[in-house]
């Protein structure tokens, strides 16, 4: 899920959906990417459970998934990914200095 949000466009899409539910055409209107590209990113976000969709007339409305566990996982995923990456930098620096 961390990887799912690692792409800047996907992250931007997810942030827009956190604000309020939107259709593909609205998302494409607010971002410098095509509609098919937005759909592709939405599919990835949907696969990892961050985003859900529902039909509304002729189009589908996408929203951030209101599932606490999914959100907590995403949050902790980012936290530990960042922590371990920082840790690697610190421990390797310490090792260099001691040699």
């Amino acid at each position: 899920m961390w990887t799912a949000l690692g792409d800047p466009t996907r992250k931007a899409i997810f942030e827009l959906l956190l604000e309020r539910p939107r259709a593909v055409v609205e998302l494409a209107g607010e971002l410098p990417v095509s509609r098919p590209a937005v759909s592709q990113h939405l599919r990835v976000l949907k696969d990892v459970g961050l985003v859900m969709d529902q039909p509304n007339g002729t189009r589908r409305i996408y929203r951030a998934h209101p599932d606490g566990l999914a959100t907590l996982r995403t949050d902790l995923e980012r936290y530990w990914g960042k922590t371990l990456a920082n840790y690697k930098a610190v421990v390797e620096q310490a090792t260099e200095e001691s040699e």
């Binding site: 604000e19 209101p66 566990l69 995923e77 530990w80 920082n86």
Partner: protein, 163 residues
């Protein structure tokens, strides 16, 4: 920077290989936790002066603010240098202190020597569902277009701060 991560519903696993001997890898992870934990996740109202990892079972991990305030956000459940450490995760999904131990998850960190100069660090954050109490109420509040729960907003704040 490659961290390898996989997840099940209530567990997160993440690992990284570092160019350091196992003893140092363990020591830095515990003694210097404050040097690498993301600054954006601060539960205190003020800047953190130091993060302390008490090196024994029953000890705490706590942040001390520049004004002397403290936040004990984890308990040390296992401390076995240089192989393994387990801490509780006393932080709620809202990134606030959780005072009910029944509603806390746990983090196990294992250190495995790949060579005498390289160590694999395997992290497992498990029992995430224990934090779940109270989510139902939140979910019920999500029905309307405006009912986005606090944690989603908080999450968006975290993303904004980090980018």
């Amino acid at each position: 920077m490659s961290t390898n991560t996989q997840m099940t519903a209530t567990t997160i696993r993440s690992s990284i290989v570092v160019d350091a001997p196992i003893d140092r890898a363990f020591r830095v992870f515990t003694e210097d936790f404050g040097a690498f934990k993301p600054a954006s996740h601060n539960l205190l109202a003020v800047e953190i002066a130091e993060t302390v990892f008490e090196p024994h079972v029953g000890g705490y991990l706590y942040d001390r603010g520049v004004d002397g305030s403290e936040c004990r956000w984890a308990r040390v459940l296992a401390y076995e240098p240089p192989d393994r450490v387990v801490i509780s995760w006393d932080i709620s999904p809202y990134w606030q202190l959780e005072t009910d131990p029944e509603k806390t998850s746990e983090v196990e960190v294992r250190f495995v020597a790949e060579t005498d100069k390289r160590t694999r660090v395997e992290l497992e954050h498990r029992h995430l569902d224990r934090h779940g109490e109270g989510w139902q109420g939140l979910r019920e509040g999500v029905g309307g277009e405006e009912g986005w729960p606090l944690y989603l907003r908080r999450y968006a704040d975290v993303i904004a701060k980090e980018s």
